[in-house]
Amino acid sequence: MSTPLLEMRNISIHFGGIKAVDDVSIDVMPGEVVGLLGHNGAGKSTLIKILSGAYKKDAGEIFVDGKKVEIHSPIDAREHNIETIYQTLALSDNLDAASNLFLGREITTKFGLVDDTAMEAESRKIMARLNPNFQRFSEPVRSLSGGQRQSVAIARAVYFNARILIMDEPTAALGVHETAMVADLIKELKAQGLGIFLISHDTREMMELCDRVSVMKNGKLIGTERVEDVTEDDILSMIIMGKNPKQAA
């Protein structure tokens, strides 16, 4: 068996007395999409925020290419080429697309000043690939549509050569056409060999996009199954009952 691109092993975190994530292990192989499913408050987003550096775990280990890594901040995560697209998109509404795309990683001139022209040029290049219709580069992102904002968030993750991509409800705010666009993009990135963690409530979408799904309930991992081995009903019962029907059988 080959080494996972990324592995989170026995991760726990608690807030006050509540164990938000309790001894959970997940992994992703290169070119694989792993879905995270569960009710609101099941601990999916918390688990993922530990990986992206927003939260600090209380216990457990993280491995990239089989090597143990420490992730204490979003900057650490980025250094390991882990990029995140958050549910809330995490854009600064008052800044334009290029400023958001490069936020925290600005291109600077030789005098150390931010080079807006160069950043806009780079943004135009990547947008031409992701969303050719996107033209509104000089407007604050607040004036963009949900799909356009999502393009900015995705461009930001993809631009910096992500190897591991975390997508937290990437299609929650999108229309049918835009959702299809994101699905195509996920398939393209997967083909490029990225490992993708996908969080979604839409079980059918997950069955279509993911190779494996991990189901969580009350902070615990219920089970991880290959999608071809389970039915949608099996997954639903794991989400709702918190039991893995395959193990019970």
């Binding site: 958050y86 809330t88 600064s92 800044l95 936020l103 925290g104 600005e106 931010v114 807006d116 004036s143």
Partner: protein, 421 residues
């Protein structure tokens, strides 16, 4: 007609908010000019107006950053008071004993200590806000009381005067650079402006971006150079009163030639404001720090998730505010030639009003440096205009208060219309 004008503004890429504020300033000036029977729009009055605006304008640029990061600083008036007072003590009671009265090192050391003090006080308040997560309103409200009390405590209620003769040149009419230097500066400024325009255009073309038509670039250049020249001409048109010149000649044991005149040119304090404005604009638009200030104001969580340390950023923003307050303390005490314990009283409100009139949104994320400067100028024009017309001081306050609310209301409508939130 209005469509044509709208297109013109759009082609030139001039901010309509900027135009609105310049328009407001012109209307206010014209009204007072008529009401005072022609004394408001004179070189003498405009010269005085810029001097009076200087210290508030310097602080207003820092307040833009503070408000953009969704904070407020109510302590700056009191900070100005205690820094001014301590600088007064240092230059009058301490340094002359070591260096001798009038030693040119006195003002330099004094200003440096003032800057350090301002940055330290600001950083401390910023630390309380960023790291201990005490709301900025509370920290700086406390600061307002503490630093004002401190100023009284240092001075025991007395006023320190006269200040060091070199120091005083940083604040008022006694420190101007004269006609020739003013024009030289205007020429340098104009050349740099034109170089900047050309460079920007070149860069945009090299990346294949759309650029303004050439005539629009010329027009913009002409407007900017014209503005620089106009302001310089006004400063150079205000003649030094004859009796002051006579006194100067007498002091050197000379006879003043018949019909001799000399103009003031730019006051040093106004040059300080210009320098601060340019520097702060560069910081806001072209540095990572400035970018992060606006990112944090737009969405603190997004900034944090992008790897920006928003706590440290808060400390830096307040330290910068403190340093600018120290500069304002230099200008304010130097202009008066003394440091009293009530120096800077209510300045926090003038500064916040200037920033807000200049389009800084209290919700955070939005604001410009030039807007704050113009806001300060509009406020001061109102106050001194009303003073010249003879409006009672309580009524002045009432009118300024009304104008503040009106300006913010207009701003809200403007944002709603332009979808600028």
């Amino acid at each position: 007609m209005s469509g044509g004008l709208g297109n013109l503004i759009k082609t030139l890429q001039i901010d309509t908010r900027l135009l609105g504020m310049i328009g407001a300033f012109i209307v206010i000036s014209l009204v007072f000019h008529i009401a005072t029977g022609g004394t408001f729009l004179t070189p003498r009055n405009l010269f005085t107006l810029t001097l009076q605006t200087a210290s508030v304008a310097v602080m207003a640029t820092g307040m833009v950053f503070v408000i953009v990061t969704r904070n407020i600083d109510l302590s700056i008036g009191s900070m100005l008071g205690i820094i001014g007072m301590l600088m007064g003590v240092i230059q009058v009671q301490i340094l002359p004993d070591f260096l001798g009265f009038g030693n040119p090192a006195i003002w330099i050391i004094t200003v440096l200590i003032g800057l350090l003090l301002g940055a330290a006080i600001g950083a401390f308040q910023g630390w309380l806000i960023g790291y201990l997560v005490i709301p900025s309103f509370i920290v700086t409200l406390g600061g307002l009381l503490i630093w004002r009390g401190g100023a009284w405590w240092v001075s025991k209620g007395t006023t320190i005067s006269p200040l060091d003769p070199n120091f005083i040149k940083l604040g008022g009419a006694s420190g101007t650079i004269g006609v020739t230097a003013s024009w030289a500066l205007a020429i340098v400024g104009s050349v740099l402006t034109i170089i900047f325009l050309i460079n920007t255009r070149r860069k945009h073309i090299s990346h294949g971006f759309a650029v303004k038509p050439v005539w629009a670039e010329y027009a913009l250049g002409a407007i900017l150079v014209g503005t620089i020249s106009g302001i310089t001409a006004i400063m150079n048109a205000y003649l030094i009163p004859t009796r002051i010149l006579e006194r100067r000649f007498t002091a050197e044991g000379l006879e003043m030639p018949e019909g001799y005149t000399e103009a003031y040119g730019f006051p040093i304090s106004v040059l300080i404001v210009l320098f601060v404005t340019i520097a702060m604009t560069v910081v806001a638009r072209k540095t990572r720090f400035g970018r992060y200030v606006f990112a944090m104001g737009g969405n603190p969580d997004a900034a944090e998730l992008s790897g920006i340390n928003t706590r440290k950023l808060t400390v830096k923003v307040f330290a910068l505010m403190g340093a600018l307050t120290a500069i304002a303390a230099v200008i304010a005490s130097a202009r008066l030639g003394s440091a009293g314990s009530s120096l800077g009283e209510l300045d926090e409100l003038r500064v916040i009003a200037a920033a807000v009139i200049g389009g800084t949104a209290l919700a955070g994320g939005v604001g410009t440096i030039y807007g704050a400067i113009l806001g300060a100028l509009i406020m001061q024009a109102l106050v001194s205009g009303m003073g010249m017309v003879g409006v009672d001081s309580p009524l002045q306050n009432m009118i300024v208060g009304g104008v503040l609310i009106l300006a913010v209301w207009i701003d809200i409508i403007y944002r709603r219309k332009t979808g600028d939130a």
